[in-house]
């Protein structure tokens, strides 16, 4: 007789028995005898095609049968076969990364800087509102607000796309933040608070420039911080291997 040891999670299907004596000349026939003695155990050991489930490990006298001859491994009298489940899991499945074109994001930042500087020089208050609305529209549609312009530039081959697997949400949030700052700035300008209004516009210029020239997205950083403290609606963590607020590394073969 061969003894099979059943782990605690499967004992509900063996009437509580920890060790079961079975007949069998090989690992496969011993398992088949076990399954015929305790039919409820079968679906937890084998899949629909009769193959051993991937999370079922078998150890013969403390040696993994995969290192021996698999389920064809011969058994001797008094051998002890242990069923050892694989234990695994984790906070999230492969995070839903999507292709994000960072060249389009940089075009967006350059346009924000350019139009807002133009607004400041020409005292064009309405341009502040225009940029705010473009960013709000971009944030609502989940795309960079100045995407149409980028498409023209790209079709003229002035830009090479820079597509990497990334979360679109933090960029969307960063745009919304920029839009809110500019809206507040425009309102301040509209009621005559010149200094406060232009200060808000300059904050947006500075943050866009930091992103464009130093590659650091403060809005994304804020998003990931909110995610870390568990703020509702902020569920994404920085992609594997990426520092928060920085462009994630290109993953070969994924795009």
């Amino acid at each position: 007789m061969v003894v099979i040891r059943v782990p605690a999670p499967l004992r509900a299907y063996t009437g509580g028995a920890r060790e079961i004596e079975v007949q069998g000349k090989t690992v496969a026939s011993a398992l088949s005898d076990l399954a015929s003695r305790h039919p409820a155990l079968r679906p937890h050991l084998f899949d629909d095609r009769g193959d051993l489930r991937p999370f079922v490990n078998l150890f013969l006298n403390e040696e993994d049968v995969r290192m021996l001859q698999g389920t064809a491994t011969p058994l001797d009298e008094n051998d002890r076969l242990m069923i050892v489940p694989s234990i695994a899991g984790g906070s999230s499945a492969a995070d839903s990364l999507r292709p994000v074109d960072h060249a389009a994001l940089r075009t967006n930042q350059a346009m924000i800087i350019g139009v807002l500087l133009g607004a400041f020089i020409s005292d064009g208050t309405w341009l502040v509102l225009l940029v705010s609305l473009i960013l709000a529209l971009g944030s609502l549609t989940g795309r960079p607000g100045f995407l149409p312009l980028y498409r023209i530039l790209r079709s003229a081959r002035l830009f090479k796309p820079d597509v990497v697997p990334d979360h679109p949400e933090p960029h969307r949030f960063a745009q919304a933040l920029g839009s809110a700052f500019l809206l507040a700035g425009w309102l301040a300008l509209a009621v005559g608070l010149e200094a406060a209004g232009w200060a808000l516009a300059w904050i947006v210029i500075a943050l866009a420039a930091l992103n464009l020239f130093a590659g650091l997205c403060i809005g994304c950083l804020v998003y990931y911080w909110l995610s870390r403290i568990g703020a509702p609606g902020f569920s994404k963590s920085p992609p594997e291997g990426a520092r928060p607020g920085r462009r994630p590394p290109s993953a070969s073969g994924t795009i």
Partner: protein, 144 residues
């Protein structure tokens, strides 16, 4: 359907999650089952053997560690009744990955670790048809 742990044991589990941060930390719970209720009385912290670089989101316990733990629990007159692991900067909710790999009957104790500090700890079990994991009440006893 409940899981009872002592305050001391729960603290050890939470410290283990903090010490493993920013990676996920994991280990096994030893205890006694009484019908559908169980009481964890000892624990075995184990190495997260998932490939480096993915350990912030995943954990895996080596089957040889699992086998040794089953022997250890048996020598103590106990059973392996569950698994504990941490979710760095994620809520203490059983994820889709947790469900895919879950075993029936085990209690899955999850501690959220935010900024390196243990936040909430919750316990989950897989339903029989494997479709979802449901939360079970976690009873914390003041004395061991």
């Amino acid at each position: 359907m409940t899981l009872q742990v002592s305050r001391t044991l729960l603290d050890q589990i939470r410290r283990h999650g903090e010490a493993s941060y920013p990676d996920e930390g994991a280990g096994l719970l030893y205890g006694e089952a009484h019908g559908d209720d169980r009481r964890a009385t000892a624990l075995r912290p184990l190495a997260n053997t998932h490939p480096k670089g993915e350990r912030r989101r995943r954990y895996r316990i080596d089957p040889t560690d699992m086998m040794a733990a089953e022997d250890e629990a048996e020598a103590l007159g106990l059973d392996v009744v569950g698994v504990f692991h941490s979710h760095p900067d994620h809520p203490a909710e059983a994820s889709e990955t947790d469900r895919e790999w879950a075993l029936p009957w085990f209690s899955y104790l999850i501690t959220s670790v935010r900024f390196g500090r243990a936040a909430e700890t919750r316990s989950w079990r897989l339903v029989d048809d494997r479709s979802i994991m449901i939360e079970e009440p976690l009873l914390v006893a003041q004395e061991a």
